[in-house]
Assembly symmetry: C2
């Protein structure tokens, strides 16, 4: 017999008076403890909705009741950012509870405060800073203690997630949390080059990053499609290569200050020597081919490349990097270094001669020669080099950070370059597996661990794995849609990078993700609301219910398949279309497929499935008139029809299963035909209920 | 017998070959014409969804089909902003049609373009600039002709609104439009002092303003609650009086450039001598009372006032105005001048002595003395004075613009100061009746006309009425909610200020407003999506259907009643609450009340009402569990209950009416009791279906 504790995360929870650290098979142990001690800890009470899960939780009894007199006191020695962040916390809690707090602003010590924050020393926004904190919620007061104000800021986010309601009052549960991150580098890369992202996008995403304890924003500022750094030395780059879209110095100062306020570092990337079209549009003489260049509008890997044999290239980079180094205070500087196929090098006789003269056998050797010179420039400005994993060559100094991105898609083993780098003595950061733009479900990214316990590295090597960074490449992403491409999935990866390794329960991750997703919306993110905005646009109406039913069971085409050959879309294509209303996790479809399994295993009644399938079977009839007045929706006509056809099959299958009947001759074959046709994309999205329907059909196969 | 042409706006439409200008009782004439000529112009074809309605439309036959090859050519002499705006039009049309246009950028002349824009001369972003245009859509090509590029930009917005669909293709209807604005000053004032509005709010609202042809953004930069102008001369103002929230010079430059791109002027307001708390916090020595000041957090009219007898005040204003004048190129400069009760003047012996010595009998005389000195400072910087209507005194030079705001609420007759100003020789702008923050329905603002034909002014006096300006005071408005407080209602007022006087059909205004509202959302406005964002926050869930049903039939308390005595809310109060999810026009309630009338007059069956009332009667049961887990929703418990009780009464009444039965003894009295109780606000909102239910009850009264 087991006591069911549904929805509890597989974290580390200590029950009152039970200061035993529990690892693994947690639910089972908790069940045991319930049985042994006869505690009446209800699912409701224990299902903390925290993300990321803290390192250690000790549950207490009762609640702290939040009232209008809620107040905060700051003690110890801290950076002024703490007062700002504590004030922001106060306002967010007031917004959440609607209590109209008497205190409006947090500034230093006050007596009898509800929440006392004690900090040992001012934090620095730098790699390896202490972010640990301890949170003690009692019935009468709350203490938040941390080494640094940055740790305290992490703790405030935890406390805000704990705010709930008990008997009509807003409350925090009594508990003690000891928490610190598993990895020090918990990043998000935003590609602001391919599609420029305005300030408000960066602001609200920094708020969201802080909410789930991410601490590095990496800005990919330059690529073939655009140059976004406000260089004073080379105004031609902004005039010719930005389409008028770039950050000003003041913008970048503001972004960095805003990020630092939240304990988030900002790393710039100037991608060289490949991905150089934007630079070469303005300065073709720095290129490896004697030609002129036009700004790239398509997606892919292109040939324009800086000429590593030309001293003018290094003079240019010296001046440019000096400017970038001046704006970004972080000691790490990302030089890209990826995806240079070297075609223009092969074609250039002078470059070939240079290689021969300098004993550079391969293009990779030539790029290494380039990287070493670039690395010396950065040293001059006090910066460490960071680069995509192609920069890892024997000559690269060990002070560089290797950014591991290649994996199966690039013919390598996932995480191979990460481990190779760590073994070779480099610090390293993982991005392979964290490419959110590929539109894979959260579960897939969630289970990618940069340093699982069973990997084959020495402790010293392990210590060089700094953490991970999500990538949001923006070929198909615009300011209006980026939030729904990032969130809530980024919160799941944030948990992987912060929480203990054994926090692995995918079901519970999805349960909490749905809750955290709603909280993120309150920071101004549009990841939930943008769907209906797009559907209203497509339908030219507020009546979008049938479209919602359909969009909830599709996902955009995965990987790079949505953009066939990189030429289906250009920079200027419309990106508020059907596929942009779809998200990477079609929750309704996932739950349906799980329900079918439960039904077939006898743990779910047929009725729930029938009601859903009945609605779906009639959906196409409701979608058709909308399509008829909206030419932009013509692309989903077959998709919508296939969806309703699948539902009809599902209903027929359930009917047969329930009645114990036998399908008519040819029925299974017909169904398989429909299932096959339903795999075709519609509006660059794919139906996600096929596996569920197929299971139902399969059940009748042998009869 | 009449031919019903539903949904047509009462504008000026000329049918093909019928170049007769039709005014008034248009529907009747059109009906006649249909009967006379037997034309088969369907409602579908004629119901153009334009807002504002153009001056003159001549309908043609057929459509221009929009394809992937749609292209634009610019000819004539124009300001470079036209290329930018034509490109923006191109992208918006591409987004709307999802055709993936070949042309990405508009830059000068090209042959065989789909749309040719011809402009006579570069426009200037100034008062009285020519904004007229002529649009000819043919089946094969489109011509847009204008005196200035600003006129052409207005025409592009009209063309975009005309884009529709015919037989699965995106099309424009064949027609000719001749259009020009009725008033030259079509403004929107945003109070960015009481609640600061970040850049993204201004950007998207400028886009929306351009979409409905508004042309003045008036920024109220200073008030008791905050100082938002980036003065270099007086950094204390930003340090002490802004809570860290103000625009930088670069911000204001960006806003002005962004507005000018769209042909929109930007007017600054520095409100003096009253509303001066923020200034006096930093410089108490400039005040009329020997005291120190703290930044105001409440709403209302406060005493802190600059001392008009102190020369240092004029030195201060001279330096400050020099800076403001430098940033804002427009020749008009708003000095506020409103709501100074002069209490601190009365209390100050030196000021009283000064008044005696200078023969200033009243506080108004003293303020005039102040205004004249201020006006001279502005003259020095080449600026005309604009001020709220209190500045109108005999000594004020006629170059000033009088901004008419006082009306019934202030003990005056509406528009009296407007007409007085025009008669006295001042140019004048109307805001009374256009205070959108009062949360009155669109219809009420829509019918306020600054210069109806029947007013008692000479043509010369009439010509001084420049137009109108909506006001969005921000005591109860934050960046997250301002869009839904402004839009779509602002579009209705925009029509009043642009379209011919006799465009007055409220029903048709509401019909078009719903369509334009959806188009405005595509510009990034949150006026539609913010409701669900707030409801999800309050419900802590995505399941908000019962809350939506309720919020759709309530409106926030009107006028200044929501904020009792100005002290219920402070600057820092939460403003994403129930009342913030409600909007000024509860469309569902309005339509319900109309339906009841139709039912009682025999033109609507009972069933439709019954279905709606049945849903409503059960709604409270669904709302209750949501309230139980959300303390922030406790304030709507009675409201929700009253709503369902009203629905029960409605159902009972219809039952009796349908059966011809007689209500039981006391039933009517009981109902009236419930109706009375239902008038009580809940969550600072009021039910709007009371009149409909009351009509049903009244029907049974005498029986």
């Amino acid at each position: 017999m087991t006591l069911k504790v549904s929805g509890i995360f597989s974290g580390h929870i200590l029950l009152p008076q039970l200061s035993v650290m529990m690892k693994k098979s947690f639910q089972y142990q908790l069940t045991l403890i319930f049985l042994l001690f006869g505690l009446s800890l209800s699912a409701q009470e224990t299902a903390l909705n925290l993300m990321p899960v803290p390192e250690q939780i000790e549950m207490g009894e009762g609640h702290f009741v939040i009232t209008k007199r809620f107040s905060i006191s700051l003690t110890g020695t801290y950076h002024e950012r703490l007062a700002h962040e504590a004030t922001r916390f106060l306002r967010r809690l007031d917004q959440k509870t609607a209590l109209f707090f008497d205190q409006h602003k947090v500034s230093g010590e006050r007596t009898n405060a509800s929440l006392t924050i004690t900090v040992e020393r001012p934090g620095e926004v730098r790699l390896h800073e202490d972010e640990s904190y301890q949170l003690r919620v009692g019935t009468e007061s709350i203490e938040l203690n941390a080494q640094t104000d940055i740790g305290a800021i992490r703790g405030l986010e935890t406390l805000l997630q704990l705010a709930g309601a008990t008997n009509g009052q807003s409350t925090f549960p009594v508990l003690t949390i000891n928490d610190s991150p598993r990895f020090h580098w918990r990043g998000l890369m935003m590609d602001v080059a391919r599609h420029f992202m305005p300030m408000d996008v960066l602001y609200r995403n920094l708020d969201a990053m802080a909410a789930v304890k991410l601490n590095v924003l990496h800005l990919h500022l330059v690529d073939d499609q655009g140059f976004r750094f406000p260089t004073k030395a080379f105004p031609e780059l902004l005039e010719l290569s930005s389409d008028g879209q770039y950050y000003t110095r003041e913008d970048l100062d503001d972004i960095i200050a805003y990020a630092h306020q939240r304990g988030i570092r900002v790393i710039p990337e100037i991608d060289v020597p490949g991905h150089a079209t934007a630079i070469l549009v303005a300065f073709p003489e720095l290129g490896s081919k004697d030609t002129t260049y036009t700004l790239e509008r398509y997606s892919g890997i292109f040939d324009p490349t800086l000429d590593p044999t030309n001293d003018a290239v290094y003079d240019f980079l010296d001046q440019l990097f000096a400017e970038v180094a001046e704006v970004f205070p972080d000691p790490y500087f990302h030089i890209g270094g990826d995806e240079n196929l070297g075609r223009h090098w092969n074609e250039n006789k002078d470059i070939q001669a240079f290689m021969k003269a300098n004993n550079l056998a391969t293009n990779h050797d030539l790029q290494t020669y380039f990287n070493i010179r670039v690395q010396k420039i950065l040293n001059k400005y006090g910066k460490h080099t960071m680069g995509w994993d192609e920069i890892m060559t024997p000559e690269m100094p060990k002070s560089a950070i290797i950014h591991s991105w290649r994996g199966n898609w690039e013919g390598l083993v996932a995480k191979q370059t990460l481990y190779d780098a760590a073994r070779a003595g480099y610090e390293t950061v993982l991005s392979n597996g964290y490419y959110l733009d590929l539109m894979m479900p959260a579960s897939q990214h969630y289970l990618v661990d940069p340093a699982p316990a069973d990997m084959d590295l020495t402790p010293a090597e392990r210590s060089r794995i700094l953490g991970g960074e999500m990538c949001m490449w923006s070929e198909l992403v615009v300011p209006e849609t980026i939030d729904s491409r990032l969130w809530p999935r980024a919160a799941a990866v944030a948990e992987r990078l912060w929480s203990p390794e054994d926090v692995q329960d995918v079901q519970d991750m999805y349960r909490r993700l749905a809750i955290i997703s709603l909280q993120l919306e309150q920071l101004g993110l549009k990841h939930i609301s943008s769907r209906n905005v797009i559907l209203r646009k497509l339908a030219k109406s507020k009546d979008i219910e049938p479209l919602k039913v359909l969009v909830e069971v599709v996902e955009p085409m995965k990987g790079y398949t949505r953009n066939t050959n990189g030429t289906l879309y250009t920079t200027f294509s419309p990106f508020m279309l059907w596929a942009d209303a779809a998200t990477a996790d079609a929750t309704v479809a996932r739950v349906f497929n799980e329900d079918v399994e439960r039904y077939l295993s006898g743990s779910l009644e047929a009725n729930q499935l029938r009601t859903q399938l009945d609605l779906w079977s009639k959906n196409h009839k409701k979608v058709l008139p909308i399509i008829n007045r909206s030419p932009a929706l013509l692309e989903i006509e077959s998709l919508s029809e296939n969806f309703s056809r699948l539902a009809v099959i599902g209903l027929e299958a359930i009917g047969l299963i329930e009645s114990g009947g036998k399908p008519s001759s040819g029925w299974v074959t017909q169904c398989q035909q429909v299932l096959e046709e339903a795999r075709e994309n519609g509006g660059r999205t794919e139906l996600q209920v096929i596996s569920g329907i197929a299971m139902l059909v399969d059940e009748l196969k042998g009869l």
